[in-house]
Subunit: 273 residues, 2 copies
């Protein structure tokens, strides 16, 4: 999965102390992709310009417009101009007003703290999984995940999301300038290939916010590992929806915040501090 298309060059003045030299610098590309569903201009995603089919499919699934790849009758990408044209299967109805990010459905009254968009409450189903994985394996998977995040190392501005099998290791890996997009590309890839995330682990570079947790649950992976911090709303959702969420996974340490029974290890002796 080359990331060359995601990077361009810019001449920067590099300061080191007080003096400067001019140098060619690699800069990550931010690409607007406008998605039409039928004849409705549905959304403009600002993303890295690779894996645009996966991006479109995963985005529509995350938004609750589709549930499977078969819900799409036709998909064509005009990469030069930044357009994705989607035709839905005939049996589906599409009401753009349902999917406006600017609206909170009145249905969300009671659980508004957790579900502030009605489509999320409709499409996120609780995780059920007997998966267990050792801490040592989590650290290994995260090391492998960082090793394949080339674009991140090159430009310092790209997030990554990977699907990991507890035994086989990394099975799919996507990067994007947007952390949500990296997860959407992974989601799109799985839907397009009719692959399940049941019994798998998602390794992720970004913060465990409510939106990230919702995407992981929709994808269906029971364990989400990140090097970054969580938010309280992300953890409330992970708790409600049966997701094992671990943050601050760095080196040989991590914090497991929800459903820790899937991380199989013994309690350490010694006092809590």
């Amino acid at each position: 999965m080359s990331t060359d298309r995601n990077v361009t060059h810019w001449t920067a003045r590099k300061y080191d102390g007080d003096g400067w030299i001019e140098e060619d610098d690699s800069v990550t590309i931010e690409y607007p992709l406008t998605v039409f569903v039928g004849d409705v201009e549905f959304a403009t995603i600002v993303c890295s310009p690779d894996w645009l089919e996966e991006m479109t499919v995963g985005f529509l699934a995350s938004e609750g417009v589709i549930r499977s790849y078969r819900d799409i009758a036709n998909l064509s990408i005009d990469a030069d101009h930044g357009y994705a044209y989607v035709t839905l299967a005939k049996r589906l109805t599409f009401d753009p007003a349902m999917f406006s990010r600017r609206r909170i459905g009145s249905c969300c009254g009671k659980s508004r703290q957790s579900f502030y968009f009605q489509t999320d409450a409709q499409t996120a189903e609780p995780i059920r999984s007997d998966l267990t994985v050792s801490p040592a394996r989590c650290y290994e998977l995260m090391r492998a995940f960082h090793a394949v995040s080339d674009a991140h190392r090159q430009t310092g501005g790209v997030h990554g999301a990977a699907l990991c099998d507890p035994v086989a290791g990394i099975e799919a890996h996507f990067t994007d300038i947007g952390r949500h997009n990296a997860l959407d590309k992974l989601y799109g890839h799985l839907l397009m290939n009719e692959r399940s995330a049941a019994g798998k682990i998602i390794a992720f570079s970004g913060r465990l916010s409510s939106e990230v947790v919702l995407k992981a649950v929709k994808i269906g992976a029971p364990v989400l590992l990140s090097k970054s911090a969580p938010s309280d709303l992300g953890l409330k959702l992970a708790d409600e929806l049966g997701l094992t969420a671990a943050g601050f996974l760095r080196g040989e340490a991590m914090n497991v915040y929800t459903h820790p029974h899937r991380i199989a290890a013994g309690r350490r002796t010694g006092q809590s501090h």
Copy 2:
């Protein structure tokens, strides 16, 4: 500016190698704030729950709904339930359809690569400023900026934005779980206090994306410093709009990408590599 309200607690299993202990962990709060403009439910912002007036005012200015604090006739916040109620001054017309993030205005045809939302093209005016600042002063300001970002150190999940005077140092500092929100809170603060950012510097913790650059230009500061990476679209906008954008500012080094004449230092001898 205490950040206690932005943090809650969660019991985490902390792994260190293979064994675990249970510990109380500080977790940053993700708070949904729904903004009504007149009787229109305009948007839900997911933010840290402090400085909600600044958040609302800055958000509306960033979106191009208002230009000054006087454009707001009344603002009331229901912090317990997460609502902001805004009444605009009578002379203003408000068409919610103008501000939908899901639409690209047809006016944006030519410069679509830079301005993909029509309100941005209307409200971002090029920076004109004679400000110059030394690299050494930039490093000092960034050190001071990091020193006041308490919440960031505490929970690892919060971004910061500060307005810095080249001589006096940090004059205002805001943090938020969202990097755009941190800038919006700063913007709101300046508008509410009728303070100008002309001749000042913004220190920022997040990536220099197109949206971040647009916010800095709307705020009106001629120099934007960040520890993080830029995007190409962010740099194109900074170049077009006269903003000095510097990234990867860490310790005594930085990369200046656009309008470097405001960073006053001599070229270093030695070859470029």
